[in-house]
Symmetry: C2
Subunit: 352 residues, 2 copies
């Protein structure tokens, strides 16, 4: 199923520009009143060309809910900064080398600075959420804070689950275990919260203002799309051209990351192959060789594990499209609403 590339790329690009402008303005303010060099470091990740998916979802959800860009721009920029803070700390947690086509803050400046800059990025996101009061009032601003708290809590729990798997050398995991972890680690902050926050920012106040029950379908749609997104992301790690994708090729295999492809392989591989793979996965990334990782990559392909991942991603994508077909009273039928639907295809079709 091809998606409307022009609409998706235009919406993503506009969202990136809009959010970058907000972040630039806030960086300028903080550089002036605070310790400048911190904000020079902080500017690194947000201005590496990301997809801008989260802010685009947030801004489009606001406009699809009959609102204006102005009402969601602080929240969208905050989501992008929370995302960057998450990446800065995630790179420390996974000891990653590359991010968005360049070396990570961790490798460039060390863990202490990467942790500090991540914390500072979170603080800047909170600054933007406080600016919200000027654009959407105190009541809505607090609703957004509630959503952000939930989103952040789900993310740290998802990350904790993944770290526990690493700490306990746990590889005996089902797709269901993976989905439970990714629901928390990815879905909330990539799709669910951007959708819900966008609607809360944009929906006109009054008797029809959505209550929590009205927003529940967005949890389902966001869950399904988020899982499709994450499986596709893990597939790109194994398949994409690194100069487009921006991360280390096969980085997930070097790191021993639990993906549905790897878990499938460990379930279906013959015992000897499985043992060889586990012995490799349990070693530190610096104790693995190129040849060993290439063997694992090849064995996974042969056992149909990549195919399993592709099939699963498409299943989630189709379920997301079906869930998105139910009537959602707070949305009107406009171009932004169409973007939100096309985005469900984009998450599995994208090249980076």
């Amino acid at each position: 199923m091809p998606y409307q590339r022009a609409l998706v790329e235009r919406t993503l690009g506009e969202a990136r520009n809009c959010v970058n402008e907000q972040i630039e303005a806030l960086l300028a303010r903080n550089r002036q009143t605070g310790y400048g060099p911190l904000y020079d470091l902080l500017a690194d990740y947000p201005f590496r060309e990301g997809k801008g998916l989260r802010p685009a979802i947030c801004l489009s959800a606001a406009r699809a809910a009959r609102g204006h860009t102005d009402q969601a721009v602080c929240s969208a920029a905050a989501l992008e900064l929370f995302h960057n803070a998450f990446l800065l700390h995630d790179d420390v947690e996974d000891a990653s080398d590359f991010r968005r086509g360049r070396i990570t803050m961790l490798k460039h400046k060390g863990a202490p600075v990467a942790v500090n800059v991540g914390d500072a990025t979170n603080v800047m996101a909170v600054q933007l959420l406080l600016d919200n009061t000027r654009y959407i009032g105190v009541h809505k601003a607090l609703l957004v804070f509630n959503e952000v708290e939930r989103m952040a809590r789900e993310s740290v729990e998802g990350q904790a689950i993944e770290l526990a798997w690493i700490g306990e050398q746990e590889f005996d995991l089902t797709d269901r275990d993976y989905v439970r972890m990714a629901h928390k680690k990815t879905c909330w902050y990539t799709v669910i919260a951007p959708l819900r926050i966008g609607v809360l920012c944009g929906a006109p106040p009054g008797a029809n203002f959505p209550v929590d029950a009205d927003l529940v379908p967005l949890v389902e749609i966001g869950h399904l799309a988020g899982i499709a997104f994450q499986i596709s992301d893990d597939l790109l790690n194994l398949e994409a051209a690194p100069e487009i994708y921006g991360k280390e090729p096969d980085g997930d295999l070097w790191e021993g990351k639990r993906t549905v492809m790897l878990l499938h392989f460990l379930r279906v591989a013959p015992e000897r192959e499985r043992r060889r793979a586990l012995a490799l996965l349990r070693r530190h990334r610096y104790d693995k060789t190129e040849a060993e990782v290439a063997w694992l990559r090849e064995a996974m392909e042969q056992r149909g594990s990549l195919e399993h991942g592709r099939r699963l991603a498409w299943q989630y994508c189709e379920r997301a499209l079906a869930a998105d077909s139910q009537p959602l009273a707070f949305f009107e039928d406009n171009e932004d609403r169409r973007f939100l639907r096309e985005m469900l295809l984009y998450v599995v079709e994208r090249m980076k």
Copy 2:
């Protein structure tokens, strides 16, 4: 100048109990709805016996401002959690071994888990700040958020300044440089924010509700007390019995931490001694020997550097007492007001 030990210890103890109860309740809630093992890890730091200084200042400021404990208890618990999150990340940033008499999360579980648990601790603090709306209403809850954002921003900037000194191997620093860094890194979150937040939580709404200009004297008092606190903390690192103090003895010398004592020594020591000290300080902590660190500790004592620190801490303490003598309309004269004054002496007289 002796302080009223009974009053101070009682107030600190009550604040610890009160805040621990809040944190326990929230941990129970999160364990039930979320990923339990994360909250087991998270419970480690807050229940190591800390001083409880920040929550005690916040609760006393609320009651001195004619308010009740209930109005400040979420904020006080949030401050304690922000403090713990800060310590978890600070231990990663400084590669510290000990905290509150036990090994750090970093050494116990590694940097990935320590970063994740620190992030989760921040999220729990935000949960408490959102609970505030039920006790002090939407308006005050947002004022507290504003204070917390400022506090967090100052802290990350202070930490960034210190990390830049480490990164650039900068030791040519004045007491003024140190005070500027510690103002951001320590004063805001240890004294200024707890005072201001307490007053905002406790003060009765209406025409006399303090505006930002009314709270400016608290920045001055908090600054002076915070610097006195931090210099005393650095002195304790060099002088205290480790079983009381809870950190590694001379840990600051092993880490090469810039303290007013060390900076004084580097300014007054004869060239040969200075060069020997710098060569030692620039080496990684694992490349230093016990004998070398003991030599530096001894040389600092001999050159009057510890005496310089003690004198400076007392100067700041006396200036804090003088600043505290100005009339502050939002405070009444009660036992909590007296605690806030005694606390100014406690920060330099304490044994841990």
